[in-house]
Symmetry: D2
């Protein structure tokens, strides 16, 4: 029986300390709900922090890697999917999640928000800036949500997956 | 900590009853070893039978779908990865498994054996015909194994993942 | 000897008349320079208009289709590449162009701008709005250019491909 | 107006001298018919030889590269498509050709024959061995052709694209 999978997306090498702290809390909260955490799988930034957070609460973690070698995955990833297709894998991240939550920003994350809207998947932006909110709302009034706490992100996911 | 993932590949709509019976037993035996089962995820043939076998032993099942809609997954798939990339996803099946076991044959399965050899992944052919064995052995003497029982397949996997 | 390929990206079904008019002129100007035009290949919107413009000047047109059937290509596409991988093909559009020019906006186009920046490819935004310019400039000061005419787009490409 | 594209597939680093000689003649004959040559694009083996043959007759050459850098293409490739998706690009080679001709064998080539049969694309095997012919014919009686000269390959293509 298919498990609910929540994607957490954000920067890798360029992630800020604040983004990683939020990602850890998000991963932990997702695991506490019994949901699977899905990330880009690499051993850095938001992907790694969210995965470690989920494991701290005994969650199940899936990582969709850009490369072809599963040894590049974060140690906190249980199921490492090696796509070998670089950033084109961002589309798989989106299609394989019930809801996507972004934590901070960066070019890769923006591509994932855009691909999610294209695929009619709901996206929750955690702690986004007002300019960013204006940019996205101009494009689509549906499927995009702005929250300013991990608790609000989880509450929004609950309304979306009912 | 990354879990061992064993891929089971075989026909979909055209799978024989014998292939599906073997696939069910393979899935069950993989789960009993504590390994994750990885398949092509669809709701037919070898993919579905192997996933049901793994669930009968409380295993964890991953399905790498060709389509973009996770509702197409077998009901016995826990983690449904929607690639939206058709048969190009066969390469992801291979890259994401520690060892691949094939159960019966068909064009899709042949592509997976070939992609596995290309990626230096070990492949075990269960119940293959002698002509097929000759064909593959001519190509590569390494990384390809022929077995005639589920027990022998599992024993071979054990020697490969040490 | 590899030909220069200029990607023109923009909306499909939702493209405005202005976007399509600009795309036609862009395609024509690209062909007049002797460059290959590369688009998303479908028979609608900016992709189709740019391809028709290029053919009006006897250019060579390449279309990278999301689907697996080349009959879905615009009639103005000479070389139809069928990826069968949906919007994940947006990454191929970007990697296969020397410079990307966007014409109008939409979720798909935003994903392409983001994937281009991720891949260190130069992107020229034609007739973009000030909010959009602020959004992108905040992310990256390099590799992104804003122009307000087809002539300026072509002039910018020339400085980039030297 | 979409041009006819004929895919020529075969080994890279491991190609034999005979395979490369045949590939050169094939590429030349394809160009002489006014068809576009499509290959895997790399600077070695059958891909490179076929592309050089086509250019010797002023043909148009397309290369679908596994990597993300177009500088890895053969110098005889006019249109270099960088997929960045490794061997998963073999499916794009197949989907983007009207007919596929293989020249020699290897794991990558076998994956392309299998993916072509899966996609209902006709495949012509040039100079294949009898064991190989038996293997494929057992799988599919349609869409697969065996020829022993470049002239016969071209004649077969003509019957297929009418």
């Amino acid at each position: 029986m298919r498990k609910i999978a929540i994607g957490v997306m954000g920067a890798g090498e360029n992630a800020t300390v604040i983004d990683c702290t939020s990602a850890y809390e998000l991963g932990k909260a997702i695991a506490q709900q019994g949901w699977v955490l899905l990330t880009g799988g690499r051993n850095v930034g938001v992907m790694d922090a969210a995965s470690r957070g989920a494991k701290s609460a005994n969650g199940l973690t899936v990582g969709i890697l850009p490369g072809s070698d599963r040894h590049d995955a974060s140690e906190a990833v249980d199921i490492a999917i090696a796509t070998g297709m670089g950033n084109a894998r961002n589309n798989i991240n989106v299609l394989s999640s019930d809801v996507i939550i972004t934590c901070g920003t960066g070019a890769g994350t923006i591509s994932e928000i855009a691909l999610a809207l294209k695929a009619n998947k709901p996206v929750i932006l955690l702690n986004s800036e007002i300019e960013s909110q204006n940019f996205w709302q101009k494009l689509s009034v549906n499927n995009i949500y702005f929250v300013s706490s991990v608790a609000a992100a989880i509450a929004t996911v609950k309304t979306l997956i009912l």
